[in-house]
Amino acid sequence: MPTAIVAYATNADPDTGSYLDNAARAARECLDTAGVSVDAIGALINVGIYRDDNLVEPAVSALLQQRIGMGLTYRTGAIPAFSFDLMNGACGLLDAIAVAESFFAVDSLDYVLLTAGDAHPSTQERDDFPYANTGAALLLGRSDDVGGFGVRQTVSSSDALTASAVVPLLESGAGGRSAMRFGAVEDPLEHAVLAVRRCAAAEGLKLTGLTVLAPAPTPDFGARLGRALGLAPEAVLSLPSELGDPHSAAPIFALADATVPPDRPLVLVAADGPVASCICYRPSRIPAAASTTEGH
């Protein structure tokens, strides 16, 4: 049975700069929208990178699990809840979708909840933080009414890499909980272009038949991606510029902002320095005769 996007929610409440606050609020709203009980969720995968206090243990997912009341304790007969952080910059959400699909294929899960977003570790608005303080959630389930996801395509640099976002513990002294140093990263445009081309080829689709949901590592990224792919401007849906860059949550913000025809395949794109990913999602079931590739 195909994997379906059941619901999504975004949160950028101005009363908090905490990732835990933003992501937990988004997760609760997402479940409320779906009408799905927190007790029905088999797994929570958190893909946010920058978090309150530069916390590295436990997984942020466990703290979010606690905040939304998911699997606080275990008793015989309950669905065992599992959670972990998956971290891959802005591309983690698409990796998590692929992992969720593997869980659905092997385990008897009904729902996987993904949380995304970032905050400066100080939980304050900071000019030196290149991303927007946000949280978002995406609930995945299974449904015969959708075409589901295709294979996630990833293109990355094979050059030797050094860390581009670092907590400089020694020079921060007692201020390490609110320190993060950002270095320059490469332009991910070429990787994103190649990923989308591979995606279209793998799905048996023409580029002109796609609606591309573009991220915003830079404000003009969507326009540049569209031009490089030769797409009509209306086929590339960019994030509103006033939002800033929601980084690991960008695909969810793009979904929330987009108005797309339900019969048109969407391509969710993520791009972050040395790596870019995309994944095709068909909101409608593909008629068997019209399908050129195998659904799953």
């Binding site: 466990a62 606690q66 593997s102 860390a163």
Partner: protein, 348 residues
Amino acid sequence: MLTRFESLGTYVPSTVMSSAELVDSLAAPRTLDLGAITGIENRRVYNRDPADYESSFTLARKAIDDCLSRSDYAPEDLDVVVSASITRTTGPGEFGFAPSFALMLRNAIGAKNAIAFDVSNACAGMSTGVMVLDRMIRSGAVRNGIVVSGEQITPAAETAAREISEPYDPQFAALTVGDSAAAVVLDGAGDADDAIHYIELMTTSAAAQHCLGMPSDRSAGMALYTDNRAMQNEERFTTSIVRLHDFFNETGRTWTEEEFDFLIHHQFSGPAIEYLVRLTESHFRAEVPEVLNVLREYGNTASTSHYLVLREHLRNGRIRKGSKILVIPSASGMVYGHMSVTISRLAG
């Protein structure tokens, strides 16, 4: 389809620090028999020499090299690289958040065809990586992959040695950690004699805030703050055993029929492991197989602990071809789980 461990590699730094030496280094002097309280006599600590500095990245790289030296797969054959450590240091006091550690490692070893991402799940990180990779292989998404963890975690013990001031101090548990790295290749070529029969993990989040790892707010460095009484008690330990029993019932298995040869717990405390074993015996009303440990010599090596136990007891010949092992993760979060594995190729 069954997955299996195709190869396993580990690396530990050569510098040994005893528990007595560590206690002697406490800024606020204490009379404390750390070895007797924790069962940990020694731990390995990273090389501080700038010319040969052992960061999380360096340690991980060495474990991958050890692992691939026994693998039939070359780096370019790998479909996935998963890095699963708590610590992601790249140099003295440099803790990385981007890009993914897995991508940096992938590029360093030339696994150019692999997708790469990190998982983070406290001391259950490698177990989480193995579980995720097991599902990816069994679903047909990938054919194989490597899960690696390099833990340069003793800087948290250095912070504790500087800052411990209370009789029941939240940084006490940080004195148990040791540096280590492990890597394991999984593929889908398992059979009844060489397989991960099952791996399941669960997070019960009511106690999620009782062990926090973050930079100290009193001095420069990472710190670990643990409320041991809230975290390590009978109620928590029993949760793990009840879930294992329910899993047996759900899948038509019994403790006795599983016929495990060995049991490997997370290496967090000798007395706590003994207590867990007694609770397990009492719950299943059956004997528990021989428990394999390495904590006396290596301490709590965080996410690498079970794999270091496997490697050390393969090396000393305790684990032989055909040995069936129950691996029990336990981690902040709280994360529980169980993995049943029959070892064949690793002992070959």
